[in-house]
Amino acid sequence: MVCMHTKIPLDEDQMPKSWYNILPDLPSPLDPPLHPGTGKPLVPDDLTPIFPMELILQEMSSKRTIDIPPEVQEVLRLWRPSPLYRAHRLEKHLKTPAHIYYKYEGVSPPGSHKPNTAVPQAYYNMKAGIERIATETGAGQWGSALAFATQIFGLECTIYMVRSSYAQKPYRKSMMQVWGAECIPSPSTRTKSGSAVLQKDPETTGSLGIAISEAVEDAATHGNTNYSLGSVLNHVCLHQTVIGLECREQLASVDEYPDVVIGCVGGGSNFAGISFPFAGEKLKGTHKETEIIAVEPASCPTLTKGLFAYDYGDVAGLTPLLKMFTLGHDFVPPSIHAGGLRYHGDNPTISRLVYDGVMKAVAYHQSEVFDAAQTFARTEGIIVAPETSHAVRAAIDEALKCRKSGEKKTILFNCSGHGNFDMSAYDAFYAKQLVDYEYPEQLIRESLSRLPKIPGA
């Protein structure tokens, strides 16, 4: 059956009832996260000062599926299942024989995929008797999602927002306020780690790594407060798998299976969300040929130019050490508009799958991705977030390859969020003021001696 529909919906009762955990399907276990103080593998108790036990168990779980609590499902139903679109107009514009599908996560109240994990994280913290959650946010998407989720479950929320984004995206901050959260530009003087960065560099633009240090410190030093992370960790990626699980059903309903799966990558959660269910099938051998592409900014090319090594998740070295692709925990990426992709590391499972060749990674400059976002907006109508524009660029490039080769591939990408609060980025694009930042790899390698030395790792 050839799909001529534009929207491929899924009924509410077809929404996934459980998340997919990829860890048991990996050929061998991941290298364990290490305690930042002792260098020894983490045990669940090490994480109790900042996470509720249910999330810790999910982080380390070897179960292939984990049930989604009914209370969480009820909230997710506000926007889920999200629509899958066939991009007929984009295909026609590109004159490609490829079928392009995109999963649109911009329909959630905060406008991105982030509440898929914010809601369960807030729920499990509420169940554990926690009163406040501290977190960080880059572009503001995660912060607004957690603000939305915490107010639903009656928790307070403190958000450390990367300073450059705080100035660039004032309406994200306003959204957090509407949902009752407190938003602070990071680095701040409220924490020791923030004060230390400010002392060294009062004019810093901040980074996700610095903001994470502040939020972790806040949680670790307040008994009623836990920490919540919007990406990178296993349980976050687990919660996002509703995206890929829904896509699989939606595509099956039109007799399609993706040849190519694409998502943008900062810490990796939206990419994991759309790709893990398909990567699991690739690993199991049922769909060996699926190409899975992670797209990152050329200015912060963690997967394409980083080292696969143990590193901290934050600048101050407070988080566990994770074996992942990293540009060095003290790397402060340039202030690109895709603030959510400014992270030095990546989810360890994605890192491992890229390292093993199960997935591949590509990197693009700012002007290239905004050019693609413009094409997308003018054909499909949606003005995507700067982060999402990376996935759009890669999808267009894959479709153009098909035009050359004549292949009728099925391309699926995660349209992870709208860009309605990012219009200053589009203004900059039209004013030709977008800077194409690069990562001077050779020079940085020569200068780099800052990765933590892990005995025996």
């Binding site: 300073r163 450059s164 100035a167 660039q168 004019e203 633009t205 050329a298 200015s299 790397f331 402060v332 340039p334 202030s335 400059h365 200053s424 203004d427 900059a428 004013a431 030709k432 003021q433 800077v435 194409d436 930042y437 690069e438 990562y439 001077p440 020079l443 940085i444 020569e446 200068s447 780099l448 001696s449």
Partner: protein
């Protein structure tokens, strides 16, 4: 209230229209060829846009400033220099600048070309900022606003903020006019002035991309290059002219010549102010070397303008892959294209369409390489 030193070089630009490629020492020839003064009109255009701003002008009598202010209805001015002859020249420009210095002007707003900029710089150096209303035949220096209107915009913005201008380093270029008239472009970096700058942002959008502080941006670059040098102690580094490379020298703790090529190895200064011969002798015997060079002048030149010491032979020895280009984000923001004109076309073309320019700590920007400009193609 802002105090502005306002000076007009009445003959600037006259030579251009009559094919003299410059007016230095050629005023009579220009007049005899029918040239008409160009700079008064340009200066008026700027001044007419400053009427409503509270500015105290210090100026010179007659065509060097007073006439224009008076014709544009400006009354808040004071004549601080009177040229002896009606036909004014470089000594008058320089004398006026000395008067501006004595009277503590906040900024010199001048109307002229490269020659005027050079004369002003020779008196004030970087102790008094300058901004040029473009009116000359040649404007290779980075002290000029793009248009007379843009000059007014920069002055208005700074004066409205009570004299708080955003400054950047701007190269003053010295072009050999005689050689230029004979068809050969010879430029030399004459000095680095301080010039106000207005980031060209779209009105109404706020974007915190780069540090507003030029000095800090230079330090970030310097910190990174120092770490690279520390990681490669066996490589000889040749630091080109300019204040960005000088910041690198400061970071290492060595004393660099501002306008020359100096060599550093293992954190130690090996040689200073090298000419081509000196560079070639250092590079002999298979020495592994890198050239750290900044973008020179307003037109985005990397090689071939003010860097004659780095000849094609020197570049062949160093190798294309060993050239590290550095520039602050501010400079890059006003430099849409960069140009390479080393004298070896094949070498230049080998860079391809883009070049990576280190613009901060562990950060680079990709800049498009323009076709090397030939004679007369400069603005």
């Amino acid at each position: 209230m802002c105090t502005l030193g306002f000076l007009v070089n009445p003959v600037a630009g006259m030579g251009g229209a009559v094919g003299l490629k410059g007016t230095d020492g050629m005023v009579e020839a220009a007049l005899s060829r029918g040239a008409v003064p160009r700079s008064p009109g340009r200066a008026k255009e700027t001044i007419s846009l400053l009427r409503s701003i509270d500015i105290h002008f210090l100026t010179c009598s007659g065509a060097m400033g007073e006439e224009i202010l008076s014709e544009e209805g400006i009354s808040g001015y004071e004549v601080v220099y009177r040229p002896e002859s009606e036909q004014t020249g470089a000594p008058d420009t320089m004398a006026a600048c000395r008067a501006f210095l004595e009277r503590n002007a906040d900024l010199i707003l001048f109307c002229g070309g490269d020659g005027t900029a050079r004369d002003i710089y020779s008196v004030v150096g970087d102790s008094l900022p300058m901004l040029g209303i473009p009116a000359g035949v040649k404007m290779y220096s980075a002290v000029f606003a793009i248009t007379p209107g843009a000059a007014a915009g920069i002055v208005r913005e700074g004066c409205i903020k009570g004299g708080r201008f955003l400054f950047r380093d701007a190269e003053v270029m010295d072009v050999d006019e005689e050689a230029y008239r004979e068809g050969s472009l010879r430029t030399r970096l004459f000095g680095i002035a301080k010039s106000p700058y207005r980031p060209g942002l779209v009105q109404g959008t706020k974007q915190v991309f780069e540090d507003p502080d030029e000095e800090r941006a230079k330090k970030d670059i310097a910190r990174f290059i120092k770490e690279v040098m520390e990681g490669t102690p066996d490589i000889l580094y040749i630091l080109g002219p300019g204040s960005t490379t000088a910041a690198i020298a400061d970071e290492i703790g060595i004393r660099k010549t501002l306008l020359g090529f100096d060599a550093v190895k293992g954190g130690t200064l090996v040689a200073t102010d090298l000419n081509e011969e000196g560079l070639l002798s250092l590079l002999g015997g298979g020495t592994r070397a890198r050239l750290v060079i900044s973008i020179i002048g307003a037109q985005g030149s990397i090689l071939g303008r003010g860097t004659q010491q780095v000849s094609p032979a020197v570049l062949q020895n160093i190798g294309r892959e060993n050239i590290i280009v550095v520039a602050t984000p501010h400079k890059l923001a006003v430099t849409p294209l960069v140009f390479l004109d080393s004298g070896d076309r094949e070498f230049d073309e080998g860079f391809g369409d883009h070049i990576s320019v280190v613009s901060g700590y562990r950060v680079a920007q990709r800049k498009r390489i323009g076709k090397a400009p030939g004679e007369g193609e400069f603005p």
